[in-house]
Amino acid sequence: MSEPSTETTTGRDRGPGLFRTAWGYGRTKVGVALTGLIVLIAVLGPFVAPYSPTEFVAKPFETGVDGALFGGDERGRDVLTRFLWGGWTLLLLALASAGIGVLAGTVIGIIAGYQRGWLDDVLMRTNDVLLAFPQLIAALLVMSILGPQPWLIVAVIAVSHMPRVARVIREATRKVIEQDYVKAAEAIGLPRHRIMAFEILPNVTSPLLVELGLRLTYSIGVVAVLGFLGMGLQPPTADWGLMINENRQGMGVQPWAVALPVTAIAILTIGANLVTDGLSRASIGIDRGVQK
């Protein structure tokens, strides 16, 4: 009874939503700033780059060239230009795989959590099988058999995210369907798919957003690592993961070609992580009904 009493006393205002609560934490602001910076570089980079990414402007691993701030890479292409061009592919692949993975996982999680019975068993046991494959090794295996393709990268990472998301969402769904408003919808005979879409889904958005952030962080890492291992995008594409791989032999004489993409990936990962952390803290507070 203590919860109702606090609610009746605390006025008529609607409590702050998930985003506003999350924004209240310092870490979220730092995270948004860091992520924003890298996204800005990746999106605007191609438009402000001084050369084209395949243009030769210097000797291999040459530094201190006029007109090339960070020198040339292992073939003599402008490092700054390739850095500015190499972000958007990474971001796009990471976003697409995280988005598709979370979407598929949510659908499976809600269906498994709500329908229960044999369907739940089939879905979740299939999930367990998928979970048994280590993310990176599965990706490398598929790439080495079918050859590296951008859509394949997205598909493999999405499939590896799906069971992890499904588990979390299934648990959240279980909690929601205990509530009487779902029973009320059943009593009036609302079709199951509408109950899932309109009664359950809006009430699992908090864990959903946290999952999305988390999966995005992992995707960035996996896409970059695949690029580095040569199983991601192929040369001569400018790609941060690929850049690290191509230029690592010359790290002693030309550190910029490795340092720039590494720093960018690190900042992006840390930023996305901080935002996710802020969101998850806010969602824990909201879900427990704790008011600061």
């Binding site: 009874m1 203590s2 919860e3 109702p4 009493s5 606090t6 609610e7 009746t8 006393t9 008529r12 205002d13 609607r14 409590g15 509530q179 009487d180 408003y181 029973k183 009320a184 919808a185 059943e186 009593a187 009036i188 005979g189 609302l190 309109f198 009664e199 809006p202 009430n203 958005t205 704790v290 008011q291 600061k292």
Partner: protein
């Protein structure tokens, strides 16, 4: 300290504020309780009575703070002590019995360990502590053998759990004991025993009791003195008989008037109609192999209110859910307007689903927190009746039937109080103009004053021709709303008849016990 009426607890000018808004949750409260006496602290949710109760232990809920006042328990000023000193006194000088015994007991500890822990007196030897634990268990009328001490809390019934909580509180012989609605979750028979135990224990130990409750009838039964709280202040305080017979503050009068009277003649029996709207015969239901209901015969005529009375575990919720199509494992004849109802709501016709509506027990769970009131009401309407021509009109009309202003349509559930939420639930149910409304304990989560408003609302709906099946454990409510009553006991109908007949001349032993155990509140005292 042997003087029978020396003051055990005195509070002067106590103020507690909430952070960060600095709102005064309780302001300038002064009370005193003598040894062996019980102070009833009455007020509705949000009046600050639990906050006051906890501050008597010098404990504050998160983000609250005692800012001024003195708090003297058995000669010790708690406000002067540091955290360590207060901890020493808790359990010895002042003890607390919380609302829900199930959450007060540690599910992982055996009872013997928990009780010995509550004693936390280093000066006693193990044998002495053990003897004290057994003694206090005998006093609360529980067994004291080793087998019982080795039990876990989940192996006890709700009433037994609450008695263990009482034993835990009394084991250290406290000077003051704070009871926060300790009988709310219990059925009347158990409640009566627990109240008797509390009464006897405070007398025997010379302990001052502070009994927090929103239920005037219980407090009238138990307390020597009554303090009425309203918005963080004590608006009236005095001897129990005086407050009950001659209330001075308007809020006290309102509280008293809201208490449902146990004995009324009931409403007039409209006589057996030609064809009952709902006829249940030979219904049996269960979960898997467990049989919960057996051989149930009930009928509801159009425009009639039938109460289904039973204690927790009697199967009343299973019955109402079966009728609503939410519980599928039942057999037997369920005729609604002459047609058999399918077990699942999905296999019933849309018309049947429209004509039978269900209102849930807990309004805090029955509304989707992400939808505005408007969409909560329009959702079922669109599905069962069709797309409305004038959506705003439908919402406004439904809200009006539930006695809410049309402006509430834009609110989210979290912006509503418990009573308002329950009204929205009723509005959602009546928007489709049903013929039968099944109400499953819809007032049990609400304050007494709100409860009486909801009952009045339902009677208004009934006057418009709606039939009601009112499921409840509160016998006093039955006589205030229903024409006929069916009493459920252990999954069978023990007795069935008109309210006047059953309340004045109950035939079944169980019904008699129920009526006798309910705290009776004399209407003369209401002084309206």
């Amino acid at each position: 300290m042997t003087d029978e009426h020396s003051t055990a607890l005195s509070v002067e000018g106590l103020t507690v504020i909430g952070r960060p808004s600095d709102v005064e949750i309780i302001s300038d409260v002064s009370v005193g309780v003598g040894r062996g006496r019980i102070l009833g602290l009455v007020g509705e949710s949000g009046s600050g009575k639990t906050t006051l109760g906890l501050s008597l232990l010098a404990h504050c809920k998160r983000a609250t703070e005692i800012t001024s006042g003195r708090l003297v328990v058995a000669g010790h000023d708690l406000t002067d002590l540091d955290e360590r000193g207060v901890r020493e006194l808790r359990g010895r000088a002042v003890a607390y019995i919380p609302q829900s015994p199930a959450s007060a007991l540690n599910p992982a500890l055996r009872l013997g360990v928990q009780l010995a822990e509550a004693l936390h007196d280093g000066s006693l030897s193990k044998a002495e502590a053990n003897a004290r634990v057994r003694e206090v268990l005998r006093e609360v009328a529980l067994p004291d053998d080793n087998a019982f001490l080795r039990r876990y809390p989940h192996q006890l019934s709700g009433g037994q759990q609450q008695r263990v909580a009482i034993a835990m509180a009394f084991v250290g012989r406290p000077d003051v004991i704070v009871l926060d609605e300790p009988t709310t979750g219990l059925d009347v028979t158990t409640q009566k025993h627990v109240l008797e135990t509390i009464r006897a224990m405070t007398r025997d130990y010379g302990t001052a009791g502070v009994y927090i409750s929103h239920d005037m009838a219980v407090v009238a039964d138990l307390a020597d003195e009554i303090a009425v709280m309203y918005r963080g202040e004590i608006v009236e305080r005095g001897d129990a008989q005086e407050v009950l017979s001659a209330p001075e503050h308007p809020y006290t009068r309102k509280l008293l008037a809201a208490v449902p009277l146990l004995r009324t003649s009931g409403h007039e029996d409209p006589g057996e109609g030609p064809e009952p709207l709902l006829r249940v015969s030979g219904l049996a239901a269960g979960y898997g192999r467990t049989r919960v209901l057996e051989d149930i015969d009930v009928s509801v005529s159009p425009g009639e209110c039938v109460a289904l009375l039973g204690e927790s575990g009697s199967g009343k919720t299973t019955l109402s859910r079966s009728l609503a199509g939410l519980h599928h494992e039942f057999t037997g004849e369920v005729l609604f307007d002459g047609a058999q109802l399918a077990t699942s709501s999905y296999r019933r016709t849309a018309e049947q689903r429209r004509r039978i509506q269900y209102v849930f027990q807990n309004p805090y769970e029955a509304l989707n927190p992400r939808k505005r009131v408007r969409d909560q009401i329009l959702g079922p309407y669109r599905h069962l009746v069709g797309r409305p021509i004038d959506a705003d009109g439908v919402v406004a009309e439904a809200l009006e039937k539930a006695a809410l202003p049309a402006s509430y349509a834009d609110r989210y559930p979290e912006q509503l109080s418990g009573g308002e939420r329950q009204r929205v639930c009723i509005a959602r149910a009546v928007a489709t103009r049903p013929d039968l409304l099944i109400c499953d304990e819809i007032t049990s989560a609400l304050d007494v004053s709100v409860q009486s408003e909801i009952v009045a609302l339902l009677r208004g709906l009934q006057d418009e021709g709606m039939a009601l099946l009112f499921v409840t454990h509160n016998i006093a409510l039955v006589s205030n709303i229903a024409e006929r009553v069916a009493i459920l006991q252990g999954g069978r109908i023990a007795e069935q008849g008109t309210v006047g007949q059953i309340m004045s001349a109950p035939e079944h032993e169980y019904t008699r016990a129920l009526i006798a155990d309910t705290p009776d509140f004399e209407p003369a005292a209401a002084g309206g």
